[in-house]
Structures are given as structure tokens and as C-alpha cells.
């Protein structure tokens, strides 16, 4: 009887310790050629795995079983199997892939080829290159609207948003925004697109129905030289309340009211804050801080930075697996 109880308890403990309870964050370390895996419960790095050269953009497959990694200096996109944590495949990506976005169909991957002024569209199932689309100089940010209609690419030196029709793979509209556009983020209903301009120091709000800019935001971080306020990553809460904007070498994240576009607060994080991601219940925001080599964790309710986690050198992208 006693031993049976023990066994049951043991079984219960095993169930409790499965990874299903702790969600995992993946961080690409650009200058270490590694990926740091953070347990978001303990907020500690649980594993560091070697990946291709200069990993930057990372994203999850729609079923959360794979992580795609832009290995920029290997000119390839690597496919990491999340169950085994092994690289199981590579995809043709075109040269110097930096950022990418996956269509909701879970098949079409849109990749920015920074050195070639091209966006490559790859079918992740067949590995077929479906299209290569000429865009401006240094294509960088890549986003696909949640409704799957638009793929948007930002070209840094051309300072444009290129709107690509995902049926025809053709550009339908080009919108000039501030200098050095870096990142695009769609609202959940696909109606609004947020685009950051790093050197312009601005975030541009685009009405997707009309493909027109409806607002332009700028930022003033107290005590920080205006030149250092360089917006890069953007993350939106799914309830439409907040937008978080990583302000690069100003070392701050702006908290924005996503309805009024008013800046509510600036939160001090690590050096050169780059990309950000919310955890599965959107209670915490994780930011990559390139120069300080760490990840800051922000409590979304209190709008306070609660922890910094040391990762590899020059952390670039962060993705939290909501199902892990």
C-alpha cells in the first residue's frame, strides 16, 4: 500500500515536471551562432544550442513544432525540430536572409534577402522557391497580415514599405516612410499595420484597407539624446490595448496606447534593445538587448522590468512558444 502510494506520487511528479507547464522562449544570438532556450517559469537559460552562422530572424511554425532560423551568413534558413532540439532541415532562402514571415497557410515563407534587394517566397513543404520579388535596397522587416492577404517588406535604404499581394506575389503599392524602416507588425484584425523607422525615429501607422498612413508617432525619452531614439521591434497585445516599441540604443521600450497612439511610459531595459515578444498569456514581455547580451522581462500589468537574463552575444530575435 505504502509503495503504491509512492509510485502514484512519483507518477504525479513526473507529469508535473513535463515541459507542458513551463513555456519556452527562444533567443537567437547573432555573434555566437547559438540559440538560447529560456524557461519562462524559472526565467533561466535551460539550454544553448549551436545553429548556423549569424542567426537573426526566428519564427515558429503555425503548429509550434518547428522553429525557422535565418542563418544569415550561411545563406540559408534552418529548420529546428522543437521536440528533439535538432536542426532537421534547411530551406533555400536566397542570399543573406535576415527576417522572414510565415503565411497563415503554414506553407509560404517570405524571406528578406538583405544583400540582393529581393524577397524570396519559399514553400516550406516542397522547398520550392515560388517567387523572387524585386524590392528596395536592404530589405529587412517582413510581415504577413493575419488574414493572409498582404506580405509587407521594409527596405531600409529605400525607406519604403512594399505591399506584396500574396496571391500574385506582385507589389501593389509602395509607401515611403521615415528613414531606415525596420519592422512591421499587424493588428490581430489585419486592419492596422505598425512600421518602425530606425533613423527617422518614428513609428508609422498604416490603414490597411486604404493603404495609407493615418498617423506618425515620435518618441522622446527623458535624458536621452534624440539621435539615440531608434525604433526597431514592435509587439502588440491581442486585446488591442498596448503596443510596445523597442527603441534601440536609447535602451528603452516605449509603452503605447494602441488606440490613441499616445506614449504611456518608457521602460529602461538593457543596451540596444532590438526585438520583443509576449509570453502566452501576455503577462510578460521579453526583449533582446544586443549590446548588453541579455533579455529583459517586463511585467505587462505593472509595466515594470522585473528581471534580466544573460544570454549569448548580441541576442537578436526572441520567440516564445505559446504551446510549450
Amino acid at each position: 500500500m505504502k509503495s503504491m502510494f509512492k509510485q502514484t506520487a512519483l507518477a504525479a511528479m513526473i507529469v508535473l515536471s513535463t515541459p507542458a507547464l513551463a513555456s519556452l522562449a527562444y533567443v537567437s544570438n547573432e555573434k555566437d551562432n547559438t540559440l538560447s532556450i529560456i524557461n519562462t517559469e524559472s526565467r533561466e537559460v535551460v539550454e544553448t544550442i549551436s545553429v548556423g552562422q549569424r542567426p537573426r530572424g526566428i519564427l515558429l511554425s503555425m503548429d509550434h513544432t518547428k522553429l525557422y532560423i535565418c542563418a544569415s551568413d550561411d545563406d540559408t534558413v534552418q529548420v529546428l525540430d522543437l521536440a528533439t532540439r535538432k536542426i532537421v532541415d534547411t530551406l533555400p532562402s536566397g542570399e543573406d536572409p535576415e527576417q522572414f514571415a510565415l503565411h497563415p497557410n503554414n506553407k509560404h515563407l517570405y524571406i528578406s534577402n538583405e544583400d540582393d534587394a529581393i524577397v524570396t517566397v519559399v514553400d516550406v513543404g516542397t522547398k520550392e522557391v515560388l517567387a523572387q520579388i524585386d524590392v528596395g535596397i536592404e530589405p529587412e522587416g517582413m510581415a504577413v497580415s493575419p488574414d493572409g492577404k498582404w506580405a509587407v517588406n521594409t527596405s531600409e535604404t529605400t525607406s519604403m514599405l512594399h505591399w506584396i499581394n500574396t496571391d500574385t506575389f506582385e507589389i501593389e503599392k509602395n509607401i515611403v516612410i521615415g528613414q531606415r524602416p525596420r519592422h512591421v507588425e499587424f493588428s490581430k484584425d489585419s486592419k492596422i499595420a505598425w512600421a518602425s523607422a530606425e533613423i527617422g525615429g518614428t513609428v508609422h501607422i498604416i490603414d490597411v484597407d486604404n493603404l495609407e498612413q493615418i498617423h506618425e508617432m515620435s518618441f522622446k525619452v527623458p535624458g536621452v539624446n534624440q539621435d539615440r531614439v531608434q525604433p526597431v521591434g514592435i509587439e502588440l497585445t491581442s486585446d488591442g490595448k498596448f503596443a510596445f516599441v523597442a527603441l534601440g540604443p536609447s535602451n528603452h521600450v516605449a509603452v503605447v496606447d494602441a488606440q490613441t497612439y499616445e506614449v504611456l511610459d518608457y521602460l529602461l531595459v538593457g543596451s540596444r534593445v532590438w526585438q520583443l515578444d509576449l509570453d502566452k498569456d501576455e503577462k510578460h514581455l521579453y526583449t533582446t538587448n544586443g549590446v548588453s547580451g541579455d533579455v529583459s522581462v517586463i511585467d505587462v500589468e505593472d509595466l515594470k522590468v522585473i528581471k534580466s537574463i544573460k544570454v549569448g552575444r548580441y541576442p537578436w530575435g526572441v520567440v516564445i512558444d505559446p504551446s510549450s
Binding site: 543573406d96 538583405e114 544583400d115 534587394a117 528596395g136 535596397i137 536592404e138 527596405s155 531600409e156 535604404t157 529605400t158 525607406s159 519604403m160 512594399h162 507589389i171 503599392k173 509602395n174 509607401i175 515611403v176 516612410i177 528613414q179 531606415r180 530606425e198 533613423i199 527617422g200 525615429g201 495609407e212 498612413q213 493615418i214 498617423h215 506618425e216 508617432m217 515620435s218 518618441f219 522622446k220 539624446n225 539621435d227 539615440r228 540604443p249 503605447v256 497612439y261 499616445e262 506614449v263
Partner: protein
Amino acid sequence: MPRCSAKGFISLIAFALLSTSVLAEPLKVRIGHVQWVPDQGPVLSNVIPEPEDAGLRGAELAIADNSTTGKFLGQTYSLQSKVADSEEAAVAAFEAMHQNGMELFVVNAPAQTLKIIMDKAGDNTLVFNAGTKDATLRTGQCHSNLLHTMPSYAMLTDALGQWLNQRRWNEVFLITGPTEADKGWADAFRRSAKRFGLEIVEDKPWTFEADLRRTASKELPLFTQASDYDAVVVADVRGDFGEYVPFNTWLPRPVVGTQGMSPVTWHRVVESWGAAQLQNRFRDLADRDMNSEDYAAWAAIRSIGTAVTALGNAAPNEIRSYLFSDKFQLAAFKGRKQTYRDWNGQLRQPIPLVHPRGLVARAPFEGFLHPNTEMDTLGFDKPESECRINN
């Protein structure tokens, strides 16, 4: 706090007008490039020769960059270039292009040649200096239609002066070569030394009166004898003897200046702030590394391109007004937005401090304060220049 204003709506209309579907008439932007780099004469350290097309290839890359943007806006860019072999040929090439209706120019030539060119340029011409670092064109003899994308010697030596100050290496041994450029560089450094509290404990010219039966490496330890100093500063612009100074000093001290660790406009080791992509594009085009002359020419033509993208036309006076307006900022891979000083037309820019295989630091440094922008702690600030080209 966010600003939503009428300005936002005006720019919105401008953006709408710029989209490809609206523009029908293609706009052709022609840019002239005149280059004359006098022969430097024989030098002791000629192991790594300077490329002969320095400057020109940067201009070509910027034309390609502008054209990629232009194809979405119905704008085309073309470059007419003359690499001249004398001052007369350079001036003649400028005049010929000018008479042919060319209004936008990039010039890489000595100050004296540029001054002759500016006397011949009419009002409706915009010229970018992508060559000379001479002080006079920025402090007194300015022209309202001359902008400088090449930093002055003063900007470079101020970057070095700030760095020496923040390292607390305040006592320096200065060696100056015999050419006019060497003297220009050394004068700029003496000014920087005063500004940033450095003491020049020895100020010696390199005269070639030393015993030439001995090699430079034998000569230099004796030449740099002094009771103490924190660093040796070399002013040898053409790279004659300077390469032999590092590791050959009397005291075990670092060498900075035109050799050793140098303040530069651009260098192959600059890779942050997206620069790796610019370096790659340049290497693909030119099969060599991008240097300061290439960068200055590139920045000039990218300034034109940025203005034309926003304006939708290429009239020199409109480009000029746009470049001096608060709407203009050049994203040019040095981590800070770059703008033109309204008193003398100098492009504000960070200055990388590099050694041949790595980046050491980037000026301006934190802590050197300025009432307007810390970028103006480098080079001739408004009170130091008599120029007021926008008044």
C-alpha cells in the same frame, strides 16, 4: 510624447503623391562627378597602394542605390564622371558638364581646385565636396551652394582628441610630415589638443634629415626619445614614414593619428548599424573595400537621392532647401542620423576610430557636451566659423 499635427497630414498627402501609380512622367536625375587626386610622390611604405578609383566607385554605388529606390517612383539616376589628370583638366571637365546643363556635382579634388570650380559654378548649381578636408572652405571661404560630405581634418582630430581625453592619455608626442596635408592635419590636431586638454610634450617635424643610411625602423626609436608621453601622434597623410612608427617608439606607447589607430570617415572594419550590408554591396561592385573617399561620394549622392525621393523633383535650389530643413536626415550606417550644418554645409557624422583590422571606438563620446547636439563637438562649431551660408 507623440505629436499628431498638420505636418503629419501634409506628409501623408506627399506620400500618397509619391506612390508609383500616381507618378506618370519619369524624372531623370543627372549627377556629375569630377575627380582629381594629385600624385602623392614616392613613399617609403608603399606595400598597400591606394586604389585609383577611390571616390568614383562610391559614387557609382550610390547611383545604383538611388536607382533601386527610383524605380518604384519613376525616377532614374545617371552619373557622368571624369577622373582628370590635372587641375586644368578637372576644371575643364566641370565647365563642360556645367555648360551641358548639369546642375548637381560631386567633386573629389584639392581645396585649391575646388575653389576654382566654385568660382565658375553659377547660383543654380549644387556641389558636394567629397575630397578635401581643408579648413578654409569651412571656416571662412564657404560657398552657399557647396556642401561637404567629407569631414574636415578638424572633425577627425577632434574625434581623436576626445578619445585621448577619455582614455586620460593626455601627454602626447606629435610627429608631423613635410607635406601641406601633413601640416593641415597637425594644425587641426593642435587645435583639438587645446579643446580637449591634451599636452603636446614634443612637437617634431619629420624632415628626412635623419641618417637615411639607417632604415626608418632604426631611426624612429631615437627620433621619439623624450622623458615621457602617453601616446605618439603621427601626421603623415600620404602614408610615407608613419607605418614605421608603431612598435618602433622609444617608449612602449601606442601610436595614433594618420597611422596606428586612426580617426577615419569610413573603413572596412565598420560593420555595425547595418554597415555590413553597405560594405557587401560595395565589394560586389568594386572588388575591393570601401574607403573614406568612396563613402563621402556615396553620402553626397544618397543625400541627393533622399531629397529627390521626398520632393519628387531635382531642382538644385529645392534639394538644397530640403537638405537644410528639419525634414532631412541621412541614414548612412554610422549609427546616428546625419544632417548638414547650416552655417557651413558640413555633414555632421560620427567618426570611427580604427586600427587596420578592427574598430576601436566611435566619436562623439558620451560626456562631451554641446548645447544643441553632441555631433557638433566634432569640427568647426558655429562660433568658430565665420560662414553663415543660410543667412
